[in-house]
Every structure is written in structure tokens, then in C-alpha cells.
Symmetry: C2
């Protein structure tokens, strides 16, 4: 029953990952170095992610806009930290319409500069605030090593950029959007995450502070999964976004940005999938149920269509696979593609009043009565799968979550069975760099509101300032 | 009552157009030359267009994918006509990650080359065909003169790319998608269009032939509104897309492409809008109805919320404007933004059992009974507005559609009251170029199945080959 196109996950995780991407037809490599082609199965997941997040953003009062792709160098350079952070990864347009350009333009790696430039013209009074904008777009970062979805030169994402009349309001927005991402990961992607603040070293270039959600992959490697930044007045001072406040005084505005990307498809693969292909949580699966009639009898076909119609009426995305392929071929194909539930309608089962449901997560086949409860039972099963995938990931995370008291502990954990390590830290960058020497271990985030008065730094042994979650990252 | 921020349409159409774009907050100019910022009102129209077209594409079996932004020069050059057509408008990335690139990359002006390259790896057998893919993305053409939505260096669009096992099937697809666009323009955008084939001179670089839909703007200038191309085997030969056919012989595949863009927002403005701002057909308006309670009485507010809820239950996008602004300010704002119907709830009217509906297209205010038919009456009014806008445009087009027998006719028409000119043509490029000397008049499309046996060319007087629609274009 093992899918031969897919390397075993426990033997070679990296190879398994790319095998899944290819076998499940999520993406293909392209002639364009470091870039991928999003194939229909992969793009459909992205569309589903977009639809859920976009609805949530809009419910919270955000509006979508679209900023230009290219950023003039001088505009980029107005804020020093951002350009410093992104210059090494810039892709530059230097020729346009057969002429060398007077000023080169960077393909946007992120759009703080363009939003800030725009806001500087729009914001005059506290009455204009807040402006809560978001855009869905492509961005480009000239990465050296790439891996489909996880790290590519071009990727798809959304970037929210908001501007507020007070620091408090902007900080609330930062936390609000962090929680949107956390909810999305846990309740849609079925991926448990840790939320916390980045250290100074790991924060976004140009941010006052950065919040992150961090997920743990099957192999114990961490993935920074979405981020939410508070900019304070850094950009508003650099780009002159000033408004007349209620006291009729000119004040620089307060900004945030927050983003999530097509990298989330990579997380889905590395958390839930198995040696038989993709496994998708029902709430993010573009197609939730496939109905396979076994045999050509009119009775079977009409039952298939009937179930399909009723599922659709209940908001479930289902389809009947009535193609010429053999049932075995269909089963394998839908399995590798990660359709959460397969309904098998065979004459023999039906004669016994039974219908077979195959769940993708556990690969169990369950026989249920062919009665008025069929649709209800399928919906219940989808709920079960959603919960089961979250619980499996949570359970695995627990097993791969450690505490460390010293560097020896860290070395021992990271060299055998990596995962999240809780270890207190003095706040010194030097100690972060020491940790990095151990298989690239980095601080994932600071755990907030944790008392470390009696703890010492895992590296230097001096008095601890923060409890930090550490991990090896993608 | 005249909106002072907007120049009169009949005085200065070009100025009126940009005034509408700014006053209705559709787009803003950007620091990036030739590019615009899609503001929330403009982007919401684009999202609505996307949702309608995307649904239709998917119903017809198309799937969305995403190809890379950048195209290597050598890949572009495999097909000679395309690169020749687009090279003068190319934006080139020549530096990446601080290094000069070995090969420069063009920001995609269109993606035939990338799709063809991808298909060449995927298509092996007739069983793999057809592949019906589409992508929504940004593209870039280094235009010299730009105008918001109509012509900008970067714009948003969709490009469908399909590959088939037979010429017939691909040609059917070309016509099918042309008709999707025609239906969308006439039944959603309320813009009547002429559909036909482009001349050799005007067809897409690399196509066997191009179909187009052409719309006429308020000022009599034509707009190429969407195109559908049949490529035959041009790209499949250049990029080696070959499949084993049913006779087990290797055959080059047959391709199409079809596209529509954010330019459609420009068409909406120039066909329907007036001196008071944007006018939107209800079926494409992101917000169809605004309900304005006049006064703070609980009775009025609860009626507003009740109507809003019922409209929403009937699939109408409505909202209650309960802000602090004065009713007059609200009326003007919703008018300039083109909300098709405004419901005014005033205490005095309500005491007389009346509700006032203001329609944006004619600016009439209609009093209806405040009874159980309110919602039904609003929905009927939205239908009326949709039909009225189409009929107005159709009527205007009739008035601006002419026939010409010779160049003098063409000169006279184009210099006084331009529009569509029907005139027969011999098929010679020389004669097309002569027409162009008259205020840039170009062939819009060839009218198919029209007998011109007894006609002569409007330019040279020789025997005619085709009936052609001519116009001055954006």
C-alpha cells in the first residue's frame, strides 16, 4: 500500500517533503531559478487560505488595496534599518523600455516604504485615522537556497499595514492580528503554535518589536509561521506621516504591519502529511469529500449524486469521481492528494445496507448505515479528522518540547531529537550567537509574563531576563 | 448640486476622467512613475470583477495556477514574434542579491512563454489534454504615457492559457472565452460591446488570430476591452509541447490564451459615470445599497437595520451609514462613490408611511410605501438601474456608430463626433496605415460573416475583403 513515489518521512525528511510536493501536484520547479510554479492543487490551497483570512481581515474593518511592484531606491533608503535588512536580497530593475533607468527600482521584498509614502499624503488629521489596509501580492527576495513553498525567491503573501492616532491603538492592532493568525493556524490549519515576541536580534528590520507564531514540524524543526509588527513612529518619522491630533498639535502616526505567506502550505505538509501523500485538515482542504461509485449501476450513480448534492447543501465541498479509471487507481490518487474523506459506494456493501467511509488521516475504513444520517455522519467525520489532526500535532509537539539548563542539554537535545527548547536567557546577543553554534539554534520567541527571577542564562549562567523558546529553523 | 471637485465631462473629458478617479477614491498616483495605488474603492471593484469572472472560468473547467514573475531572456527569445512585440516595453531585472545576473530577466508582460515551458514538461499524451489553466497576477509594460487604469506600467489582470489535442477544440475555446467576456461586459458591466477578429496588423504578437471585444466610451473613443487568442502550434513548436496522439504519433499541441485586466475599471468610469462622480451598475458595485437614517430616533435606526438585514438575506450588499456626518454630506459622498441606491429614512416621510429611494443613475428620488414590499422594491430598482445603464450606453453607441464610404467621410466623422465607423477594407496593411493618419483611427475588428462582394475599400477603392469596425482608441 506504500506510495512508491514518496520517500519515507522517517528515512529522509527533506526528500520526503519534495516528493510530497511533486506527487500531490502542489508545485513544480520552474526554469526560473529559485521560483516555483504553483500547480492547481497547490494554488487551490492558497485560494482557500486567502478566502478564510480575507474574510476575517474584513470583519475586523480592514480594506484591500494594491501598491506598485517596484520601489525606487531613494524611497527605500529613507528608513535605514529596512533597507539594510533587505538590500542583500534585492532584485533590481535597472532597464525599462530599452533604456537604462536613471534610478534603479527594487522588486518589493515587502511594502512598508510604499504604504508609508502613500499614508504621508493621506493622513492629515486624527479624523483620518485609523487606516486599516491590506494587500495580497507577490514579493521577491533573492534567496540563495530555496525549497518549494518554504523559501523561494518569489512568494505570495498578504501584508497588512495600518496607521493609528495612538501608540496604544497600534499596539492593540499588533496583538489582535497576531491572534487572528494563531486562531487560523490552530482552528483551520490544525497546527498548534507558540505565540511570543521576537528578540531584538530576530525582530523585523525597522520594527519596534515583532510578534510571531512558531510551529513545530514533524521532524522537530521550527517554522516562523506569521508575524505581526509594531513600528511605533519609526516609519512615520522617516516618511513624514503626521496628523493634527485632538489637541490640534502635529504628531507622527503609529504603525503596524502583519503578514502571512504561501509558506503556510509548506507547514501544512510538514505537520500533517505522511508516507502516502498529502494530508489536509478538512477546514482548509479545497475539496473535502470525494464520492467514488464502484460499478456503473444507475442505483449507485444516483446515490452518489444524491449524497454529493446534500453535502453541497450543507456547505461541504464534494465531488463525484465518475471517471474511467479503476477504483484502486482513484483511491490512490485521492489519497496522495489529501482529500480528507472518501465515500466508497459498492454494490455488495449497499446490498447489506452499508456505505464505506475512508478517512485520510488514519486511513481507517468505516462502514456506516445507508440511511438518512449519511450526510450527518460524513460531516461528523470531517469534524473528527480536523480535531484528530490538531491533537496529533499537539501531542507530538509535547514530546518534542524540552527544557534546558545549560549548553550541554541543548547540544544533546538538538543533536538527537530536536524540538522546542524552553531555556532562560540573560538578554545578551552574544549568548544568542553561542546558541546558534549548536546546529543553528535560534531564539523563536520570548515567552511573555513568565517569572525568571530565580533563573540563570542557559549560555552564560548570569541572571536571566526572559524565558525563551529556542529551535532549529527553516 | 454639481460636484465641484469634478470637471464637466463635456468640457474636458480627460480631466473629468482623472477627477473621477481621484474624487471617487479609486486610485492615487504613486511615487513610482507610471504606476498607481489601487485604493480601497478601486480595489473592491477589481475584487468584484475577479469573483464573477473566476466563478465563470471555474464552471467551465479552468483551474488557477501561478507562474513566476520573471522570465529569463533566453526563454523569451524562443518564440520570435512575441519577444519582438514586447521587447520595447520590457522592464528588466539585471541585479539580484547584490550581484549582476548572468542572464537578465524580464518582469512578465504576459506569460505565454512560462506556460509553454511548463506545458512542454507536462504534456506527453492526448490523455493529458486539455489543460485549462488561468492565473490572476500583475504584469508590467514600460509604457511612456500612462493614465490610471487605462494604461499603466504595472496592471492587474488574468491570463488564461490552455493547451489542446486538436485545432478545433482550441478554436472552440477561443470563441467560448470571447463569449464569456462579452457576456460579462454586457450583463455585469452593462457595457455593450462589438466582438470580432483583429486584423493581422492589430493581432497579438505570436497569435494565429486574435478575437477582441471593443467598447465605446462616452466621448466616442474605443477601448479594446478583452482579447482571446488562438495560437495554433506557434508556441508548441517553439517550446516543444508535443503529445502522442490517438494514432500514437507525436503531434504539437494547440494553444489559446485570453485575458482581461484592471483596465475594465477605466471602461466602467468612461461609459457610465457623470459629472457627479462614479456610476456603477448594481451587479458590479461592491456596495449596492446604502441606508441613511436621518435623525437619531430608535424607530428609524431599527428600521434601517431591519432593511439592511433583509437585503443581505436576499444577497444584496448593503450597509447602514450611521456616522456622525450630516445627511447632506453623506448623500454627496455616496453619490460620488457610485452606490447605486440610497435609502433615505426620514421621520417626516415615515410618519406619512413613506421611504425615499434615490437612484444614482438618473438621480431621481422615488417615494415608496413603507410596507412589506420595501425590500422587493429595492431589488426591482437595482434591476432597473442595471438595465437602464446598459440601454443608455447602447443608445449612445447607436448615435455614435457610422458608416463611411471614403476617407473624406472618415475625416469628417472623426474630427467632429468620433465613434465606431463601419467601412469595408481591401485587406492591405497600407490602407490601415492611411486610416491611422486620421486622428490615429485603427481597425477595431473585422465583422465576421458579412458579405462585402459588392463593396470597395474605404481607402484605396479596390475590391473589399472585409467589413471592418474602425475607431480612435485608448
Amino acid at each position: 500500500m506504500k506510495n512508491k513515489a514518496i520517500t519515507s518521512r522517517d528515512e529522509n525528511f527533506a526528500k520526503w517533503y519534495t516528493d510530497i510536493v511533486r506527487a500531490s501536484k502542489l508545485a513544480d520547479y520552474s526554469t526560473v531559478k529559485g521560483c516555483i510554479v504553483f500547480e492547481p492543487n497547490g494554488y487551490a490551497i492558497w485560494e482557500k487560505m486567502q478566502s478564510v483570512l480575507d474574510k476575517k481581515f474584513k470583519e475586523l474593518g480592514h480594506q484591500n488595496v494594491y501598491m506598485p511592484l517596484l520601489i525606487p531606491q531613494t524611497l527605500l533608503e529613507k528608513e535605514g534599518e529596512l533597507i539594510e535588512g533587505f538590500a542583500p536580497e534585492g532584485a533590481w530593475v535597472t532597464e525599462g523600455g530599452k533604456n537604462k533607468l536613471e534610478e534603479k527600482l527594487m522588486v518589493r521584498p515587502t511594502s512598508e516604504t510604499l504604504f508609508s509614502d502613500y499614508y504621508s499624503n493621506k493622513v492629515k488629521s486624527y479624523k483620518d485615522l485609523p487606516l486599516l489596509y491590506n494587500q495580497w501580492c507577490n514579493v521577491m527576495r533573492w534567496e540563495k537556497e530555496t525549497r518549494p513553498f518554504l523559501r523561494t525567491r518569489e512568494f505570495l503573501w498578504q501584508e497588512g499595514h495600518t496607521v493609528h492616532a495612538s501608540a496604544e491603538e497600534a499596539q492593540e492592532e499588533t496583538i489582535r492580528m497576531l491572534n487572528v493568525y494563531k486562531d487560523f493556524f490552530e482552528n483551520y490549519l490544525a497546527i498548534p503554535v507558540i505565540a511570543g515576541k521576537k528578540t531584538e536580534k530576530e525582530k523585523f528590520a525597522g520594527a519596534e518589536y515583532t510578534y510571531t507564531i512558531e510551529a513545530l514540524m514533524y521532524n522537530g524543526v521550527a517554522l516562523q509561521s506569521a508575524t505581526s509588527h509594531y513600528f511605533g513612529q519609526k516609519f512615520s518619522k522617516a516618511y513624514n506621516i503626521a496628523f493634527l491630533n485632538k489637541e490640534n498639535k502635529l504628531e507622527n502616526a503609529y504603525q503596524t504591519s502583519w503578514g502571512s505567506s504561501s509558506r503556510m502550505i509548506g507547514a501544512l505538509i510538514m505537520v500533517h502529511s505522511d508516507d502516502n501523500g498529502l494530508v489536509l485538515p478538512p477546514k482548509i482542504a479545497p475539496r473535502q469529500v470525494v464520492i467514488v461509485p464502484i460499478g456503473k449501476e444507475g442505483e449507485i450513480l444516483s446515490l452518489a449524486n444524491d449524497i454529493n448534492k446534500k453535502l453541497s447543501e450543507n456547505g461541504i465541498t464534494s465531488f463525484v469521481d465518475n471517471s474511467e479509471k479503476s477504483p484502486g487507481f482513484k483511491f490512490a490518487e485521492h489519497e496522495v492528494n489529501g482529500i480528507p474523506v472518501r465515500v466508497e459506494l459498492g454494490m455488495r456493501d449497499l446490498q447489506n445496507g452499508k456505505i464505506c467511509l475512508a478517512r485520510r488521516d488514519t486511513r481507517e475504513r468505516i462502514f456506516i448505515e445507508n440511511d438518512e444520517n449519511v450526510v450527518k455522519n460524513i460531516i461528523t467525520l470531517l469534524d473528527d479528522i480536523q480535531k484528530n489532526l490538531f491533537n496529533l500535532a499537539l501531542e507530538r509537539n509535547k514530546q518534542k518540547t524540552y527544557t534546558a539548563k545549560n549548553l550541554e542539554d541543548v547540544k544533546q537535545i538538538m543533536s538527537t531529537q530536536p524540538g522546542f527548547i524552553y531555556a532562560s536567557w540573560c538578554g545578551d546577543k552574544e549568548c544568542e550567537l553561542k546558541m546558534k553554534e549548536i546546529r543553528g539554534t535560534k531564539s523563536r520567541c520570548i515567552v511573555e509574563n513568565q517569572n525568571v527571577d530565580n533563573d540563570v542564562c542557559v549560555v552564560c549562567g548570569k541572571k536571566a531576563k526572559h524565558m525563551v523558546v529556542w529551535g532549529i529553523q527553516y
